[in-house]
C-alpha cells in the first residue's frame, strides 16, 4: 500500500519537468530550420561514430594507379568512387567520413574546456564584482586583442601539432564569450530576491553560486556553446589546412583542402567536397544553435 503511494508522489513530482521538456522539444521542432540543423548534426555525428561501417573504402589505402580519378569513377573491381580519388588514389568519400572524427572531437572537447573556464570566470566576475571582475575582464580584453588564429599557430608552432595541443590551445583561448554572457546574467541575478533570500538565510557564496545562479545561467551558456562549436570546427579545419592540425596521413577536412589546393587546376573535386562537408556541418550547427536561442532565450544577443 505504502509503496504505491510513494510511487504515485514520485510520478507527480516528475511530471512538470517532463512536460516542460516535451514542450521545449515540440517548440524547437516547430522551427523547421532548427529541425533541419538538428538532423544534419545528428547525421554527421552518426557518420563519425560509425565510420568503419559506413565508409566504402579504407581512408588511408593508397593506389597510385587510381590517382586523381573523377567522381563516379569505377575501379577494375567495379567498385564506384562516388566522390572520386585524391592524388594518392585514396577514396575521397571515405576520407570525408573519417575526417568528421577529428572535427567533431576537437569541436566538442574544446567547447567543453572553454565553456567550463568561461562559466567559472563569468560566475566569479558577475557575482563578486569589484577587484575580481576588473582583473577577469582585463584578461578577457587581453585575450580578445590577439588575432586568434595567429596566436594559435604561434603556440602550436612551438609545442608541435597534436590532437591534445589543438584542443588545449582552442579550449584555453575561447573562454571570453562564455565569461561575458555568464557575467552579465550573474550580475542581474545577484540582485534578485531569491538570491538575496538565500544570502539572508545564511547560504554560503559557493552554495548560492552553484545551486541558485548556475542553473539560471545555464540556458544562455548552452546557446553560446552550441554556436561556438561551429566556430571551433572551422578553426580546426583552418589549422589542419595550414598543416598544424592532426598530422597526415590521418584524414582531416582541412588537410584534404590543402592537398586539393595544389591540384586545383586539374582536379576540382579534391578541394570542393571536403569544403562542402565543413560547410554543411557548420551550417547545421548554426541553424540548430539559432533555433535553440530563439526557443530558450529570444532576447539573448550573440
Amino acid at each position: 500500500m505504502s509503496t504505491t503511494a510513494r510511487a504515485l508522489t514520485l510520478h507527480d513530482e516528475l511530471r512538470p519537468a517532463r512536460r516542460e521538456w516535451t514542450l521545449f522539444v515540440r517548440r524547437l521542432g516547430r522551427r523547421r530550420t532548427a529541425l533541419f540543423g538538428a538532423v544534419v548534426v545528428a547525421l554527421v555525428v552518426i557518420t563519425a561514430l560509425a565510420a568503419p561501417w559506413v565508409s566504402p573504402f579504407d581512408p588511408l589505402e593508397q593506389s597510385i594507379g587510381e590517382r586523381l580519378k573523377a567522381p563516379g569513377w569505377r575501379d577494375a573491381a567495379g567498385r564506384a568512387h562516388p566522390l572520386g580519388t585524391d592524388h594518392l588514389g585514396r577514396d575521397i568519400l571515405a576520407r570525408i567520413i573519417y575526417g568528421a572524427r577529428p572535427a567533431l572531437l576537437v569541436g566538442f572537447a574544446a567547447v567543453v574546456i572553454s565553456g567550463v573556464l568561461g562559466m567559472i570566470a563569468g560566475l566569479l566576475a558577475g557575482y563578486f564584482g569589484g577587484r575580481i571582475d576588473d582583473v577577469l575582464m582585463r584578461l578577457a580584453d587581453i585575450q580578445l586583442a590577439f588575432p586568434f588564429i595567429l596566436l594559435a599557430i604561434a603556440v602550436i608552432g612551438v609545442l608541435g601539432p597534436s590532437l591534445t595541443t589543438i584542443i588545449c590551445v582552442i579550449g584555453v583561448s575561447s573562454w571570453v564569450v562564455y565569461a561575458r554572457i555568464v557575467r552579465g546574467a550573474a550580475l542581474s541575478l545577484r540582485e534578485r530576491e531569491f538570491v538575496q533570500a538565500a544570502q539572508a538565510l545564511g547560504g554560503g557564496d559557493g552554495r548560492i553560486l552553484v545551486r541558485h545562479i548556475l542553473p539560471n545561467v545555464f540556458t544562455p551558456w548552452l546557446v553560446v556553446a552550441t554556436l561556438d562549436m561551429a566556430r571551433v570546427i572551422v578553426i580546426e579545419s583552418a589549422l589542419s589546412f595550414l598543416g598544424l592540425g592532426v598530422q597526415p596521413p590521418a584524414a582531416t577536412w582541412g588537410g584534404m583542402l590543402a592537398d586539393g589546393r595544389v591540384y586545383i587546376s586539374t582536379a576540382w573535386w579534391l578541394a570542393t567536397f571536403p569544403g562542402l562537408a565543413i560547410l554543411l556541418t557548420v551550417l547545421g550547427i548554426n541553424l540548430f544553435g539559432d533555433g535553440l536561442r530563439d526557443t530558450l532565450d529570444p532576447r539573448l544577443k550573440i
Binding site: 582585463r138 584578461l139 580584453d141 587581453i142 580578445l144 586583442a145 590577439f146 588575432p147 586568434f148 588564429i149 595567429l150 596566436l151 599557430i153 604561434a154 603556440v155 608552432g157 612551438v158 609545442l159 561551429a230 572551422v234 579545419s237 583552418a238 589546412f241 595550414l242 582541412g254 583542402l257 586539393g260 589546393r261 586545383i264 587546376s265 576540382w268 578541394a271 570542393t272 571536403p274 569544403g275 565543413i278 560547410l279 557548420v282 551550417l283 548554426n286 541553424l287 544577443k301
Partner: protein, 305 residues
C-alpha cells in the same frame, strides 16, 4: 568625456602590457627558448654560448623587462632567417595587410548595411529570405575554402582574375571578397536584428503616427539608433579581419603580415612571430579605443557612465 577617454587609454595600456607578456611567454612554452630558437643540430656548446649571449640565464622577470624595453623601442631582435630587424620586416608588410583588411571591411559595410536594412524593412519578403540565407551560408563557410572556390571559378575556369600576388586593383578583388564574406554575414544579421528591434519601438510608431513618411523614418529615426551596435561590431570585426588575413594571405600569396608570420612560424623565426603578433594586437587595441571614443558621439548616454 575627457575622463572617459583617459580611462579607456589607461585600460588599453594595461591590455597591451598583458599582450606583451603573452608574446614574450610564447618562447618559454617548451621550457627552454634556446632549444626553440636554435636549429636542432646545434651542439651543447652552441646552446650554452647562445643562452649566455641572449641572457636566457637571467631571472625570468629581468628577461621580460628587457623584452618589453626592446618592444617599446620597436626592437624585437633580428630575424633568424632574413637577418634584418624583425620589427622592420613586419612594418614593411603592414600596408598590404591594412589594404586587404580595409577593402574587406569596405565590401562588408557596402553590402551588409543595405542588405540588413532592406531585410528588416521588407520582412519576410523574397529579398529578406535571400539575404538571410546568404548571410547564413557566409557565416558557415570556411574562409580558405571560399578562397579556393573563387580561384577555381574566376582564375582557373574563367581566367578573369589573378589568383595570387599584389599590385593592381584586380589582384585585390578575390582576396578581399574572401576575407570580407564572414564579416559581411555578421554585419547583415546584426543590422537586420537591430533594425527590427528599433522599428518596433514606440518613438518609431509616434513618428509614423505624426505622418512622417517611410524613408525618413527608416534613415533618420531608425538607422541612427540601430547604428550603435554596428559601430561596436566594426571594432571587433577588425580583429577577425586581421586574424583572417593570416589564412587569406596564405591562399592568395598576398605579401602581408599574415603570410609573413605563417612563414616565420614554419621557419621557427620567432623574433618575427613575436613582432607580428605584438603589432597586430596593438593595432586591434588602438582601433578599438578609437571606436569607443567615436561611440560616445553616437550614444551620449555612455559618457555619463
Amino acid at each position: 568625456m575627457r575622463t572617459f577617454v583617459t580611462r579607456r587609454l589607461l585600460q588599453s595600456l594595461v591590455v597591451l602590457l598583458g599582450v606583451s607578456f603573452v608574446v614574450f611567454f610564447i618562447l618559454f612554452l617548451t621550457g627552454d627558448p634556446a632549444l626553440v630558437l636554435l636549429p636542432p643540430e646545434a651542439s651543447a656548446e652552441d646552446i650554452r654560448e647562445f643562452r649566455e649571449r641572449m641572457g636566457f640565464n637571467d631571472p625570468f622577470l629581468v628577461q621580460y623587462g628587457r623584452f618589453l624595453g626592446g618592444a617599446l623601442r620597436g626592437n624585437f631582435g633580428d630575424s633568424i632567417r632574413h637577418g634584418e630587424p624583425a620589427f622592420h620586416l613586419v612594418v614593411e608588410r603592414m600596408p598590404a595587410t591594412f589594404q586587404l583588411a580595409g577593402a574587406a571591411l569596405l565590401i562588408a559595410l557596402c553590402l551588409a548595411i543595405p542588405a540588413g536594412i532592406v531585410s528588416a524593412v521588407r520582412r519576410n519578403s523574397v529579398l529578406d529570405y535571400v539575404s538571410t540565407v546568404v548571410a547564413l551560408l557566409g557565416q558557415s563557410m570556411p574562409t580558405f575554402w571560399l578562397g579556393i572556390m573563387l580561384i577555381l571559378l574566376f582564375s582557373v575556369q574563367l581566367q578573369w582574375l589573378p589568383s595570387s600576388g599584389r599590385g593592381e586593383l584586380r589582384h585585390l578583388i578575390l582576396p578581399s571578397i574572401t576575407l570580407g564574406l564572414f564579416t559581411t554575414a555578421r554585419i547583415t544579421r546584426l543590422t537586420r536584428s537591430g533594425m527590427l528591434e528599433v522599428l518596433g519601438q514606440d518613438y518609431i510608431r509616434t513618428a509614423r503616427a505624426k505622418g512622417v513618411s517611410d524613408p525618413p523614418v527608416v534613415w533618420k529615426h531608425a538607422l541612427k539608433n540601430a547604428a550603435i551596435p554596428i559601430v561596436t561590431i566594426i571594432g571587433i570585426e577588425l580583429g577577425t579581419l586581421l586574424g583572417g588575413s593570416v589564412i587569406t594571405e596564405t591562399i592568395f600569396a598576398w605579401p602581408g603580415v599574415g603570410r609573413l608570420s605563417v612563414q616565420a612560424i614554419y621557419n621557427r623565426d620567432y623574433p618575427v612571430v613575436q613582432a607580428a603578433v605584438f603589432l597586430l594586437a596593438t593595432t586591434f587595441v588602438l582601433v578599438n579605443v578609437i571606436v569607443d571614443v567615436l561611440y560616445t558621439y553616437l550614444d551620449p548616454r555612455i559618457r555619463l557612465r
